[in-house]
């Protein structure tokens, strides 16, 4: 049975380029970049080169890139940086929005306990916030605005450039979690105008456990980890050289091939949206136009997401869902609730996130399989029976 992996928003397969870039630093060049000897200095050179490549991909300066363990760490460090600056200036208000990743939301909860006031902006039915909303929420004591570049569940791309401009005008720091965006849509820090940006290697065919935080010149990141003077004293711990080199290689490749891949993915995405849209009482989650090229997220009324995933897995299709059963909590996805899906509908969601290795034939197989699975589960669902008999009203028309 062929495996069709369409869960690339969760993680991706490492590219050949990333693996080749990584191997020398696992085998021969295993030195510590802080060591003065030749073996150590070879590692140091690799680190310098990787930082140049990563900076180059983002339109940043090498001194603006801090390597971290991934997106969550970068997000936490960015928020702590703003918080400590705010505490010094007596500004203790932070603005974000409801569909952020938990790395942001949970870190904000922690800051709230530390005395910060947090405003979480509502999103519209497509999952979008506007620059106007941000502008209206900014106060005298606002220290930072943090809005993700693209949503991990529904793929909605936020108007980051406009939001960053508003923040700049008001003299408020702006951070964006670009974990789902880098390597998938053009991301240039100078063009976007953000002060800080988080990214993670394993979302663009790099390895897990490595990422970066961009912090613009003149702003100094607070430390999450105390210790040695690595990363210009801002992130202690011996550098993950192999991971960092692999990330740089993966990023370079993803950015170079971006226009070609995005076009290919968007075509497959549109076919899936069209094909799955034929299923009765189904709805697309997220914006139809402001959308990541590889993201499809739909709700099917009357059934539950985990069952869909298990049955698709039996057909070789690896996908994901925002149902409570898959989130490990009682509530379905906070993102689907934020865009206005009621609980019972949010439980029946399916996310398919594509990569360039998927094919148009895969899309046809997915459409056929999802149709079969939805039909099968609806036949055994008392909710579906009630809907059909008019005992319960359809939420999705």
């Amino acid at each position: 049975m062929k495996t069709i992996y369409v869960d690339n928003a969760a993680t991706t397969k490492m590219s050949k380029a990333a693996i080749s870039a990584m191997m020398p630093y696992l085998e021969e060049n295993y030195g510590n970049p802080s060591s003065l000897h030749t073996v150590g200095q070879l590692a140091q050179e690799a680190l310098v080169k990787a930082r140049m490549e990563v900076a180059g991909c983002l339109g940043a300066d090498v001194k603006e890139i801090y390597f971290t363990s991934g997106g969550s760490e970068s997000d936490n460090q960015a928020l702590l940086t703003a918080a400590e600056l705010g505490e010094r200036k007596g500004k203790k208000h932070i603005i974000s929005q409801k569909t952020e990743h938990h790395a942001i939301l949970h870190a904000l909860n922690k800051l709230e306990k530390r005395g910060f006031e947090i405003t979480l902006l509502d999103v519209d039915g497509d999952g979008l916030v506007t620059a106007e909303q941000v502008k209206n929420a900014i106060r005298e004591d606002t220290v930072m605005v943090t809005i993700m570049t693209a949503n991990n569940e529904i793929g909605t791309i936020m108007p980051i450039k406009e939001i960053a401009a508003v923040c700049k005008e008001k003299g408020v720091l702006f951070h964006t979690d670009a974990v789902q965006a880098v390597g998938h849509i053009p991301v240039d820090v100078k063009e976007l105008g953000c002060d800080m940006l988080s990214l993670s290697a394993h979302k663009f065919h790099g390895p897990k456990g490595v990422g970066a935080l961009y912090v613009r010149k003149g702003l100094f990141p607070s430390t999450l980890i105390e210790g040695g003077a690595q990363e210009r004293g801002r992130r202690a711990g011996t550098e993950n050289i192999a991971g960092i080199c692999a990330m740089a290689a993966a990023m370079k490749e993803a950015v170079e091939k971006l226009p070609e891949n995005a076009e290919k993915l968007a075509k497959m995405r549109d076919r899936l949206i069209e094909g799955l849209g034929e299923i009765s009482h189904s709805v697309l989650n997220g914006s139809r136009t402001q959308r990541l090229p590889g993201n499809v997220n739909m709700c099917f009324e009357g059934i539950e997401g985990e069952s869909i995933l298990l049955l698709l897995d039996a057909k070789g299709i690896c996908a994901s869902s925002g149902s409570a059963c898959t989130s490990g909590s009682l509530d379905p996805s906070h993102v689907l609730l934020a865009i206005g899906r009621p609980h019972e509908v949010a439980h029946g969601s399916l996310r398919l996130s594509l990569c360039e290795e998927n094919t148009p034939e895969d899309m046809e197989f997915i459409i056929k399989s999802v149709k079969e699975v939805v039909d099968y589960l609806r036949k055994m669902s008392p909710v579906w029976q009630d809907l059909q008999e008019g005992k319960r009203k359809y939420v999705i028309q």
Partner: protein, 141 residues
């Protein structure tokens, strides 16, 4: 794997799926908001469950628990079906992950609700204590 082979077997090949026209007892428990609803239909002749069907909206373990519960009570006297515990369902499924145990509780309650419906319809007296809800979900409220 998240689930045992038994759970996957009952999920992918569920036993007794469907409905019974003019069933002698029907029980529905759960809540769509929480993401699981179980409905059990009983056909009862001379105090024996001669047929049982279920329909379930829910995750893999909810469907597997329903399937297993129906298999465990089919052909049994009603009194014996009332003794079915969620623990017995879990054991028969070779275990469920901790956060899925409530699915087996729903299965036990669905069976009890169907029997209660049968008692009510036929004017059979019973001790209401027997049907006290053990499933406490703050969500379903």
């Amino acid at each position: 794997m998240l689930y045992s082979e038994k759970v996957m077997d009952h999920f992918t090949n569920p036993r007794n799926v469907g409905t019974i026209e003019n069933a002698d007892g029907v029980g529905e428990v759960g809540n769509a908001k929480c993401g699981d609803i179980m409905k059990i239909f009983l056909k009862i002749d001379d105090g024996i469950i001669t047929d049982v069907k279920f329909s379930t909206f829910g995750c893999g373990s909810a469907i597997a628990s329903s399937s297993m519960a129906t298999e465990m009570i089919k052909g049994k006297p009603v009194s014996q079906a009332l003794e079915l515990t969620n623990k017995a369902v879990v054991e028969a499924l070779d275990g469920l992950p901790a956060h899925k145990l409530h699915c087996s509780v729903l299965a036990e309650e669905a069976v009890k609700a169907a029997v209660k419906d049968y008692y009510d319809k036929n004017g059979i007296e019973y001790d209401p204590e027997q049907f006290a809800q053990t499933h406490d979900c703050e969500h379903c409220g």
